[in-house]
Symmetry: C2
Subunit: 416 residues, 2 copies
């Protein structure tokens, strides 16, 4: 099954927003065995819209259009889409009532332009939008499915999850899919591929293995397709088990959750608590931890000790250490981690100190030099990194490596 | 002048990565008065690549292709691109030496697949890549310009900035462009548009005004095009001055920099220092501040006080306050801000405490309830917010509002 995504409107083309919707849609559709073949972002000119819809229809089975139908948009878009289907727009009173209620809820008068929100394509099934004002639409046309969704990510995702995906599953019902995940850390993608090459080679045609790499980790996604779900589950379990056995300790989780979620769940289950002491990562480690719902069950808090003074006053780093070795040193990192662990009363702490750039580097300690220390129940481990990215990339890499070091120490102390 | 962007490869279509490159390219090209008309992401099948290149050539003057030419990619891509131009690949020894040096620098043996990096299109001018291994290429073909760049954002951006943009400027030299920026805070996009409607209506055709909104702020970008740069500058200055006068105090900056950069520069210039005390934002305020190079000149550090215990021990929030009013309360926010300011010895501090969700809400304090306090040289200001997004959006909004409150107090105390 093939899909294409079309985004209409200037925001993406002008670079005013980054298109995060398409990647998310790509993942969701893949899990339904619907493969996105093309993503097209276009301006809202009539000829361009007609051209894109026609081309997508000729290649794909499912066409998802996001954006371009909100209240402030040019009428061109709506009129053009209606023209493409050789249909018109009709007023939907249920949508109108809903839009009015939303404005009432926020005690705001509804600008007149919002009346148009209730105009839906005459040939569409309305996908009711509980999360915003613009409704989604489902159109079946010449054997293809066209789905129109608002561009606001929060609304688009909820409409997909609650309205579109259940319908798509029904619509393409012959082929069933089951998925299995294996999250691995500490093995590079190509090394992992070598490690399991013979297993992968032995997979039957109905099985597909995808490698999804991130800094320091690779997620494997096993897709098994066929008719009989029970049989598919048996096969998927068996293959997953083979892979897990081969990969061994590097397997971190078999759930489709992030590494941070695995870390948090494990800490909670073992009653461990975490504190952070961040210099060069500037709060980013705390952020990625607290971005996960439920982090409060294991994360006590952290100190962003950007200045030396704060390293001393809030973490108890000794002034003589700073003088003798500098802020970017193994000694300072160790004292930061120990200080955070002690002062925040946790079983684990992680500390970073380095030069994120672009300024502040020296010959001895160039930009990208980062010391990371993790303090556990029994010991403190340290590591020196030399990253080669720009400021943002260096911060991201240091954050990822800090969490990996934390994980490794935790596993080691647990005796795994 | 019209441009299209083509990204080749499965990573974006499968949703394994978000395409941040295209938005950045869209901005850069816009500043050269080159308007991106379409962004196309495709798989690396021969027919798909040929179709996309042909279609783009028929519509655009400049076609930028990113990704698809790295060492691990299928040879299909390279062969197809050569076929499209009816050319072949030639070995470039300068590139080869450079690639070898990069591996030597990291003390790593060069995998054989990297020899292919030195194979460049025979009809291309090589855009030397000082930031990675894969070279960029510039091809002039049937009156159009094709630019091939690696997909790694860091490499792509450097190649664009240092190799491509200077060449594009020369290539399309008839029309000159001058740009002016006005960053405003605290006025909504539509309100701002009303405020300056008559000025905007009076603009001559050669002037374009773009509204670039973010949470709590709108950036105006004024583009003036024509032949005589001196005259264009005079006109741009005059129009910018008119707008600034009308908008008044909401104008924050006339430079093309982020709001965080404006805040940091202003604090540095006035010798002010900042501390953060974060509960629900979990380190995100510290992160957005420290993401800016030079933040260390005004940011002392912060406390992420996720647990009540840390609010007490590290910020001096009183236990009786927590008991009487709860962690999510005006009283706690005030004590957090005061505590951070005092303990970290700064002139300003900002504090957040709230319920980011999805759990933790109650009827009285639903998910999205956030108290923010800012402490300045003379006073403390507080504000209650009720956000309606998911966890991530609530954190982002709270972060943006906290910085806006900080800015307003700073300006007020400065007597602006």
């Amino acid at each position: 099954m093939k899909a294409e995504i079309i985004t209409i409107g200037d925001e993406i083309l002008l670079g005013q927003i980054v298109d995060t919707n398409s990647a998310w849609l790509g993942q969701q559709l893949f899990d339904l065995q619907i493969h996105v073949q093309q993503i097209t972002s276009i301006t809202d000119s009539e000829s361009h819209i007609l051209q894109a819809l026609t081309a997508a229809q000729s290649r794909a089975d499912v066409i998802i259009c996001t954006g371009g139908l909100g209240p402030t948009k040019d009428d061109v878009t709506k009129a053009t889409v209606a023209k493409f289907f050789n249909t018109t727009f009709v007023h939907n009173e249920e949508v109108m009532v809903h839009v009015k209620q939303i404005f009432e809820r926020f005690n705001r008068t509804m600008p007149a332009m919002n009346y148009g929100q209730a105009d839906v394509l005459a040939n569409a099934e309305v996908l009711f939008n509980d999360w915003g004002t613009a409704p989604g639409m489902w159109v079946e046309h010449e054997g293809k499915v066209f789905i129109f969704l608002p561009g606001v990510p929060f609304e688009m995702k909820n409409l997909m999850t609650h309205r579109v995906i259940p319908k798509l599953k029904n619509f393409y019902s012959e082929e069933k899919l089951v998925l299995r995940y294996i999250l691995t850390v500490g093995i590079g993608e190509s090394h992992l591929a070598e490690m399991i090459a013979d297993i992968e080679d032995s997979f039957p045609d109905q099985v597909h293995l995808a490698y999804l790499p991130k800094i320091g980790m690779v997620r494997l996604r096993l897709t098994v397709s066929g008719k009989d779900v029970e049989q598919l589950n048996l096969l998927a379990d068996e293959l997953q088990e083979q892979l897990i056995e081969r990969i061994g300790k590097a397997v971190v989780s078999t759930e489709d959750i992030s590494f941070e979620e695995v870390l948090i769940k494990s800490f909670v289950a073992d009653n461990c608590a975490l504190a952070t002491a961040e210099s060069c990562t500037g709060g980013n480690i705390a952020r990625v931890i607290t971005e996960v719902a439920g982090a409060s069950e294991m994360f006590e808090g952290g100190i962003v000790s950007y200045s030396n003074q704060v390293k001393v006053s809030q973490l108890g780093v000794s002034e003589s250490t700073l003088e003798a070795f500098g802020a970017v040193s193994e000694e300072t990192a160790v004292e930061m981690a120990k200080g955070a662990k002690e002062r925040l009363g946790t079983s684990y702490a992680v500390a970073t100190t380095g030069i994120a750039g672009p300024g502040g580097g020296s010959q001895e300690k160039p930009v990208g030099t980062v010391w990371i220390a993790v303090a556990g129940k029994q010991e403190v481990q340290t590591k020196l990194f030399r990253f080669h990215g720009d400021r943002q990339i260096n911060i991201e890499r240091a954050t990822a490596q800090a969490l990996l070091m934390l994980w490794n120490l935790y596993r080691q102390e647990k005796g795994d």
